[in-house]
């Protein structure tokens, strides 16, 4: 791969040919504000917050979609650029429900962070009213188009990463919003509820219904469902799992999860119906007992039924170590090869 040299804010930088100015600036340690840009997605150039000046180039090109060229001289910020960015931000805010404290994305909102970074508190414009969709049809997440900045990150996620394309821009001009075909409720669309659009949304326009408390730590586990083997980060607070997210280090799922992994991998762990003590049948009823009583009884009965009289069902849901020990137990301790599991079911 050949490299080229360019100047970012007067500093010489060497980067790979074909890189964008935004990436080159990142490599040079210069931050350029962005909103529609996301590293998981193809360059888009929608929001115009990442505009820069390039010597000899007309206007202010968006750095996220402008390729570097040999000897290019880039200015990432001056008064004029800053003023333009603030105007872009004010326009976005004028069309945005501005009640951060009640928003699910509060303190985790890229728009909010930009207002802080660029020093914009009031938009100072007269908002043009429009009716935006609030779609609460899906029990897992809510779509509030009053908080949408039309960055298309959700649309692009669903198309580029998920390959589904359940949502797109609908309508025209000021009335443009994001929705599924014919703006039907999302729950009635082809959406698979994986939640990746929510993960990639920079604001509170898409938000999960469950709002977990902040985790103390995260632990990496393998998803308990299908055989794909996605890696999950379980968010743990006070020894309870409060949320799950995709592990970006995994070669299998690269941060993605499906709805079972994201929403179904932990609620059952803390279900009140979990078994917490051994049970033994006494006079027809299963009653709680201590481990010693249960294990002694099992050992006594297993001793009576060795060889072909003994059989075991191991499990495709438990770890390798458990399966290894179960077949070893059946063969070594009980003298029976009748050990199987539900691979066929």
């Amino acid at each position: 791969m050949s490299t080229i040299k360019l100047f970012i804010d007067g500093k010489e930088v060497e980067v790979e040919r074909g890189t964008t100015i935004l990436k080159a600036a990142g490599q040079a340690g210069v931050r350029i504000p962005t909103l529609c840009h996301h590293p998981d997605l193809e360059p888009y150039g929608g929001c115009r917050l990442c505009i820069v000046k390039v010597e000899g180039m007309r206007g202010m090109p968006p750095s996220c979609i402008t390729e570097v060229a040999e000897g290019m001289k880039v200015t990432t910020e001056d008064d004029e650029i800053l003023a333009a960015r603030r105007t872009v931000l004010r326009l976005l805010l004028a069309d945005h429900t501005y009640d951060c404290l009640r928003c699910r994305a509060n303190l985790d909102c890229e728009l909010q962070k930009l207002t802080e970074e660029l020093g914009v508190r009031e938009h100072g414009l007269i908002p043009v009213l429009r009716e935006s969709t609030i779609d609460e049809s899906n029990p897992l997440f809510v779509r509030d188009m009053n908080r949408c900045v039309r960055c298309a990150r959700c649309i692009r996620t669903c198309q580029e990463i998920i390959g589904l394309g359940a949502i797109d821009f609908l309508g025209r001009g000021h009335a443009v919003e994001v929705g599924p075909f014919a703006n039907q409720p999302i729950a009635e669309s082809i959406c698979e509820s994986c939640g990746e659009c929510v993960v990639h949304c920079p604001t509170g326009a898409l938000s999960f219904r469950e709002q977990p408390p902040r985790p103390d730590r995260k632990e990496t586990v393998i998803c308990p469902y299908c055989g794909t083997g996605c890696s999950i980060e379980l968010h743990v607070r006070r020894d309870r799992v409060v949320a799950a997210s995709g592990d970006r280090h995994s070669e299998v799922n690269r941060g993605l999860l499906c709805l079972k992994g994201r929403f179904g991998s932990f609620p059952y762990l803390h279900d009140p119906e979990r078994l917490t003590r051994p049970l033994v049948r006494k006079r027809g009823e299963l009653v709680e007992c201590d481990w010693d009583e249960a294990l002694d009884l099992v050992a006594q009965k297993f001793r009576q039924h060795r060889g072909e009289a003994f059989a075991a069902f191991s499990s495709a849901k438990v770890a390798n170590e458990d399966n290894y020990l179960m077949q070893k137990f059946s063969r070594e301790v009980q003298g029976s090869n009748s050990v199987d599991h539900c691979a066929r079911l």
Partner: protein, 530 residues
Amino acid sequence: MTNPIADFGKARTLLVTGSNTSENHPIIAHHMRRAIRRGTKLLLLEPRDIPLAGLATVWLRHRPGTDVAVLNAMMNVIVSEDLHDHQYIQERTEGFEEFRRVIEQYSPQRAQEISGVSADDIVLAARIYASERPSSIAYAMGITQHVTGTDNVKSLANLAMLCGNVGVEGGGVNPLRGQNNVQGACDMGALPNVFSGYQQVADLAARQKMSQAWGVPFESLPDKPGLTITEILDGAESGQVKALYIMGENPMLSDPDSGHVEKALGHLDFLVVQDIFLTETARLADVVLPAAAYAEREGTYTNTERRVQLSRQAVPPPGQARPDWQIISELARRLDHGWNYSSAEEIFTELAVVTPQYRGITYERLRQGEQLCWPCPTPGHPGTPILHVGRFARGLGKFHAIEYLPPAELPDKKYPLLLTTGRVLQHFHTGTMTRKAAGLEALAPRPFIEVNPADARRLGISGSAPVRVISRRGQIELEARIDERVDCGVVFIPFHYFEAAANRLTNTALDPVAKIPEFKVCAVRLERAG
């Protein structure tokens, strides 16, 4: 899988069959759909109008259970049009001539009569599979859960070898495993005929090796293969099996003909169930042992592409629940075997020694983030993402001459509809885990049966009406969903719901080799209920 998941993105043609991938393996479906967006062609051999059907270049909508006829006809076309890979067949395979004599009998027209798929579509699909290579095959239980399941899989292997698609990047024959550790459970020897690493119990040397490693007398290890799950249940009913130890399975919902399962379990002298919930099966037990769930202990799982992965402990188990390996060890100690494992890692170290495919894998390597697909035979080995490169595991790849055989139970006058079963996007297997997640349950709260509009009209059934579904083995009541996802004459029920358990209806007929029950085809009739 012969190839890694990422290879679906490198295929120019994908043949997906017997897999509703986007609902059952959503992350794998992402790989497939991204490839299709870039121009990969999708061939779908599938009776239901699953979400992937909309993306298929050719959708072969066959009658359930007629897979061999369609695949043989595709291979008939490939050979008669001389699209097969002569060099690959000559250098790397055997049995071609005998195989060829059988597929010559399967013209596309004959397959059309058997399967209902148009002969033209079969020809088109065959040409694409053979010419736009590498071609990758993905399949799941829609292929295997038939009395001809083994034949179906062998036919897919025939097709792949015919076009030189095994042992190449972006190709392969790729079963999508339905549970997080089916691969590992098989690798670990949780099967009646093999120790870990597929070492035959009937093999003298294997028994010697294991008895030495385990420190027990050689004669104490039985040499006769044991019983499979379905045979164990039959054995319980006949009195041969007296004690059964069930860990983490719920055969009352997951096995065919639950009436038979209940009766068989009732015949046992002693039933132990080790699980995280009081499942339908645990309710019948003499002793129930509370186990730790996956996130409550450390352990390794082997995914569908043979990747061995380490899962950490995130939270402590509830109450007195314990990891499965601790419970088993404790029982072994009480039965005078001195098992003193102190951690899952210690067990892994032992199993790696006796399991050739796992020998080079350690917890340490996994902790360091190494991505290891077995076989990984030595300490520094990088793992083997693609199998059969240059040479098949058995030497030469064997073509099997396979004739089409019909399913064990087909619709007739009394039971005129063909029932097929499967999963929905929101739920998993018998629902014991997913149905505890309120959001998932809200999306898919009720059992249903998909009925084609034409059948519904004839039976006088309207949308969401309660219906009774009756087979020779049992009956259930549930809501009808009038939907063209199923073809005329076919109905579909997801098997997640205990309140209308699909396996009250299904047939226990088995594939004679793999002993898989024929969940995907049985005959039923429908009546309006209530």
